[in-house]
């Protein structure tokens, strides 16, 4: 159901924020694949400012209609992130980065898009900032591709699995440290 979906996304957002281990309130955060602003509202609730990016104009219009606190941008993370270096104390992403692994057109190369994204993300974070990216890997090969791309772009950290013994409840978070 729709409300169950919202509940899951909210819980995932809260968990991602927890894993960011921010030093204080009043941080400036990036929400990657912010969609309708659900995860952004969790960030606001936790006392931080945020800017959101999403590739879906329809989802962003929903976020606008919900009058979320953060500004949102229409952008494709596989094209990079349009921010100055060291703009954000941290970044979260809920159920979004798997889209980088799709090759919609012959021109779209998932590996190249992943590298572009992780390079841009690394630059956009302050030194010592974290990114926590929750997603549903399609298979072990995809998990390996995404994780190795992140490491290749200079991130430390790794993959965290919540509820590892439950196929149904299992949740994957890429927990990355910049510099």
């Amino acid at each position: 159901t729709n409300s169950r979906m919202r509940e899951i996304q909210t819980t995932l957002s809260e968990r991602a924020l927890e894993l960011l281990a921010l030093p204080s309130e009043n941080c400036m955060l990036l929400d990657i694949g912010c969609g309708s602003g659900l995860s952004g509202e969790v960030i606001t609730e936790a006392g931080h400012c945020w800017i959101g990016c999403d590739i879906s104009h329809d989802m962003l219009k929903v976020a606008k209609s919900m009058e979320v606190e953060g500004d949102v941008l229409l952008s494709d993370m596989g094209q990079g992130l349009p921010f100055r270096p060291a703009s954000f104390d941290g970044a979260i992403s809920i159920s979004a980065i798997q889209w980088l692994c799709n090759a919609d057109t012959a021109a779209a190369n998932p590996y190249r898009r992943l590298l572009t994204f992780f390079t841009a993300l690394h630059h956009a974070l302050v030194r010592g900032g974290r990114a926590v990216l929750q997603w549903y890997p399609e298979n072990p090969a995809q998990m390996e591709l995404v994780t190795s791309c992140a490491m290749r772009c200079g991130f430390g950290g790794g993959l965290l699995v919540d509820y590892p013994h439950s196929t149904r409840a299992k949740k994957y978070f890429l927990v990355l440290f910049a510099g």
């Binding site: 309130e25 400012c49 590739i55 606190e69 941008l73 229409l74 703009s87 021109a107």
Partner: protein
């Protein structure tokens, strides 16, 4: 919010030819004023992260005057001036207009408060 000056200040042109250190130029059509909770702690933290010259230039385009000409001139204990800064940074909101990459001339439209930063296939 749609696009406040804080957001603008964090942004750069996504064009591959652009230097990624130059602010986008604001073309403002519809602008509105919001009310956002004054948070001195956040403001004090974020000041160090701003491109101050870029902020002043954008603020002038949106008719925000009387801001300190450098961060050294900011008196964090002067509530009136901090509230003025808060207003310019957080409460002046571009609903319709564009962000222009001054190095390439490329315009990124803002419609319904959403800046469209998508690059075309031939720009990749």
């Amino acid at each position: 919010a749609n696009m406040i000056l804080l957001t603008h200040n964090m942004m750069v042109s996504p064009m591959k030819e652009a230097s990624k250190s130059v602010p986008l130029k604001i073309e403002a059509e519809e602008v509105q004023e919001l009310e956002k909770e004054f948070n001195l702690d956040f403001l004090v933290n974020i000041i160090d992260r701003l491109d101050w010259a870029g902020f002043l230039e954008a603020a002038a385009i949106l008719n925000q005057q009387g801001l300190p000409s450098s961060t050294e001139e900011i008196d964090k204990t002067n509530e009136e001036s901090m509230r003025k800064l808060h207003h310019a940074l957080m409460e002046v909101d571009v609903v319709t207009g564009a962000l222009v990459c001054t190095e390439t001339g490329r315009r990124f439209p803002i419609a319904g408060g959403i800046p469209n930063m998508l690059l075309n296939q031939d720009e990749l």
